[in-house]
Amino acid sequence: MTETSNKPVQGPVLDSLPTYEKAWATPPGWRKLSSVSHRVVGQRFIVTGLIFFLIAGMLAILVRTQLIVPENTFLDAETYNQVFTMHGTLMMFLFAIPILEGFGVYLLPLMLGARDLIFPRLGAFGYWCYLFGGLIVLASFLFDAAPDGGWFMYTPLSTKEYTPGLSADFWLIGITFAEIASVTAAVEIIAAILCTRAPGMSLAKMPIFGWYMLVTAFMIAVGFPPLIIGSILLEIERVLGLPFFDPAMGGDPLLWQHLFWLFGHPEVYIIFLPAAGMVATMLPTFVGKPLFGYGFAVAAVVTMGFISFGLWAHHMFSTGLPTVTLSLFSAASTVVTIPTGVQIFCFILTMAQARPRLTVPMLFILGFLFIFVLGGLTGVMLASVPFNWQAHDSYFVVAHLHYVLIGGMVFPLIGAFYYWTPHFTGRMMSERLGKWAFWLMFIGFHVTFFLMHITGLRGMPRRIATYPEGIGWDRLNMLSSIGSYILAAGVLIFVWDFIAHRWRGPLAPRDPWKAGTLEWLYAPIAPGHNFHAIPRVHSREPLWDQPELLENEAHEIEGMLRDAPHGRRETVGCHPVSGEPLQIVRLPHPTWVPMITAFFVAVSAVALLASFYYVAAAALGATLIGFAVWAWEKSETGQTVDTGPEGILPVDIASRLGHTYIAVIGTLLIMVALFASILFGVLYLWNVQPDFTRRAGDPDLLWIVLAVVAGAALTAMAYLARRNGYVLYDIVIAVLAGGACWALYQALRPVTPDQTALAATLWVMAGFVAVQLFVLGYWSVFNVLRKVFGLAGKGQRIPEVNRAPYALVTFLMLVAAAVMLGAPQLGVFA
């Protein structure tokens, strides 16, 4: 073999269609940073996540080294607190979720039969937010202001009084910023899964990974908002001194815990589900048979998604909740074992169908089954209240959570790396090194964490930098530390393999694992457009059941959109349920706008940290302009494209089945969850200390009514505007939105927010509604400009169609806020 032929090749280069190849080409050199392709963005997520994983793993080694002997002086208490805080923070927020979303971003279009994710610029924007947010959090080390309040940031320890300085602000601002990436990716994944599947791929024929990611995305959309709201409240308390969590002013430190665990518990499932989806995808490949009980698995995943929101209080069993509440949450917590059990037995029964091939990914799957089942069982033990009182915040919980997270997520993830890396690089990773990595990780893991169960039951609490000699923890800790070094060695072997296989690994053949899902259609590396023509799909494992797909060269396969004479990026938009083609979705070309916009958000966050409030406001303004530039495009609704076998389809339809409409619904889900979190705060504080309800003054009832009236009128206008896109509607809507904001402000003026926690929360609630109204106003003004400049003409009414539900939801929020504002003085709920 010659030097040149030993390099992996990207795609077939077809001289006959130069415009087509050019349209999908990734810009060369440094301009690759402007790429918005899901392949590039997904790999960025994965590599960045891996780097954060290594940093966080290094911090874990520091922790274990500190604890190897009693009363160690390797780290002082302050450094130790920073190290364990950052270990948890990086692992949870900057490694686990982003890297799994990265795999989703990379794999979903390939599996579903799309040429790109549906909102490529949003994905790129999310990545830059994640990167900049992560860098802000990491930069705290440079300023010697690393967060040291634990990854859970419990109040009042994290308030200004007990954590002066910037460390907590770095955490709150950086993490909230990075979370933007997670929620934007969630919207994008929801819309992509529902709207861009190959023709014929109904939801029932969707690869199982799609289901797992769909449920995960919905859970992110609902699960992250409580933490975002909690972080905003805490940051406001730190900067402006509003007393949300101060019991002397009618607040409650437990409000933070409720908001945090409303996020924190689903978070665990958000991390587990995509990894389980990877297992469900890889396992059938090595068995050579489809997943056993597909329908059961889907039902189990959906059930799990719902149940996971009802368990948060089991992290708070020792806070003194009433016994009845404890028992209810205890019972609810155990119920989650049923959908988990169903999934595990789906996997086991899949294996029973034929003798599996024992490859490296398969080893990691077996490791996953072993470790995760153990972790799940200790989880059930922790759901028992009396046991929880002993084990909570002890090393038993440390052991449990690492069994669940490393077993449930890291093992499948590394298996997934071995499985899909050929797709990224065109080369196979080493089977030999993979086995070494697995066994070192597996043995090291158990030595480290199994013993911690005993350490915990022997009374060692978590998060202690030193422990006294001789009370029974010395040897267990020493062994745990030694185990952690073995575990780290396994991880390093994997990382080395991941780097070195790029020049040492053998070239990957087409469909190297004999898998059944569409992403293996091309020989690695698949070309930038994923599918030269998008084939019709008749089964869940098209590569197994449709022999014509692998018999031919990948670029010769029959399908839709074979030709692209106009040089535009486009893919097929489908019906959300049936998967039948519905429209053609035009996709953006490489652009710098998402990166620049994210940069402005970063400037705003940094300026906020440095207390340059004018700079922060200016940067936020620049961000809004960035969004406008981003959306400043000529509407193409009404055009048609000849797709070949599926006939002529319209471009970008203005309908409730359109992808933008579904994305707006996804966004509204996030907004409603945000609002609900604030509402939860209001009701909670009202309930905890009712005597504080009216101490800060009463809102003005007349102005409340006026605000609601303006909101009602606005919503009516938004619905009327769907019929015909007169500019007048937009102007009236913008004015009404401004008016409603003004009325809300007037209504709240008699209420002093720094007097009581409830008053402060009511201001936040009104502020959130005002933001919603501002979005509507900004949207409408932007719409006017587009029409004035001729970018949107008659009949091109996507914005109008999408704005209507947004207005309706905003109006409902306004009504809810009005009730909360007016109720105390009317004595409605007294």
């Binding site: 009693p70 009363e71 002086t73 013993l451 005993i454 006294p468 040897r475 267990l476 062994l479």
Partner: protein, 169 residues
């Protein structure tokens, strides 16, 4: 399965189980039960004796007067280390080998054996150091070091340990 394979699997399992069992027992046992430490100490002692026997050259050997005069008659360094922990010396002094002894109130006792004077008033000899530990204010009125009620036997043991810190041994 061939017999060789069966034997190999059986041997591996037995070995693994044995290692796991020993490690678990060791991990769970009280600190007083220290077969590993005892075995290490024993082998170290035997090893040193062996090396010493080979290395000894009675003709060339000269007595180490300096280190010999630091020897404390009847002092037990291991018990001394324990006592240093219990009397709370570590609150003020850094004492290598004693967990948690990292105080910065008084001088570090690292390489104490190399010092010429104790607290600037007594020579650094076993007898003087013992007397100092029993009642520091008697020798230096303005010292901040309190008399801790140390008995003579305890003081001797602690001195024996403290003289292991330094360049001579």
């Amino acid at each position: 399965m061939s017999p060789a394979r069966i034997i190999r699997i059986a041997l591996t399992s037995v070995l693994t189980a044995a290692v796991l069992g020993v490690v678990t027992l060791w991990a769970l046992a009280a600190p007083a039960f220290d077969p590993v430490g005892a075995a290490l100490a024993w082998s170290k002692q035997r090893g040193e004796a062996l090396v010493g026997w080979y290395a000894s050259d009675p003709v060339a050997a000269t007595p180490q007067w300096q280190s010999m005069h630091m020897r404390v008659a009847g002092g037990d360094p291991a018990r001394g280390r324990q006592l240093i922990n219990e009397y709370g010396c570590g609150a003020c002094h850094v004492v290598p080998g004693v967990p948690g002894a990292r105080g910065t109130v008084g001088p570090s006792l690292t390489s104490l054996a190399d010092r010429a004077y104790i607290a600037g008033v007594l020579t650094n000899a076993p007898g003087d150091l013992t007397r100092w530990l029993i009642n520091p204010p008697y020798f230096s009125q303005d010292t901040a070091m309190p008399d801790l009620g140390v008995t003579e036997a305890d003081a001797k043991d602690m001195v024996a340990y403290l003289y292991t810190l330094g360049g001579f041994e």
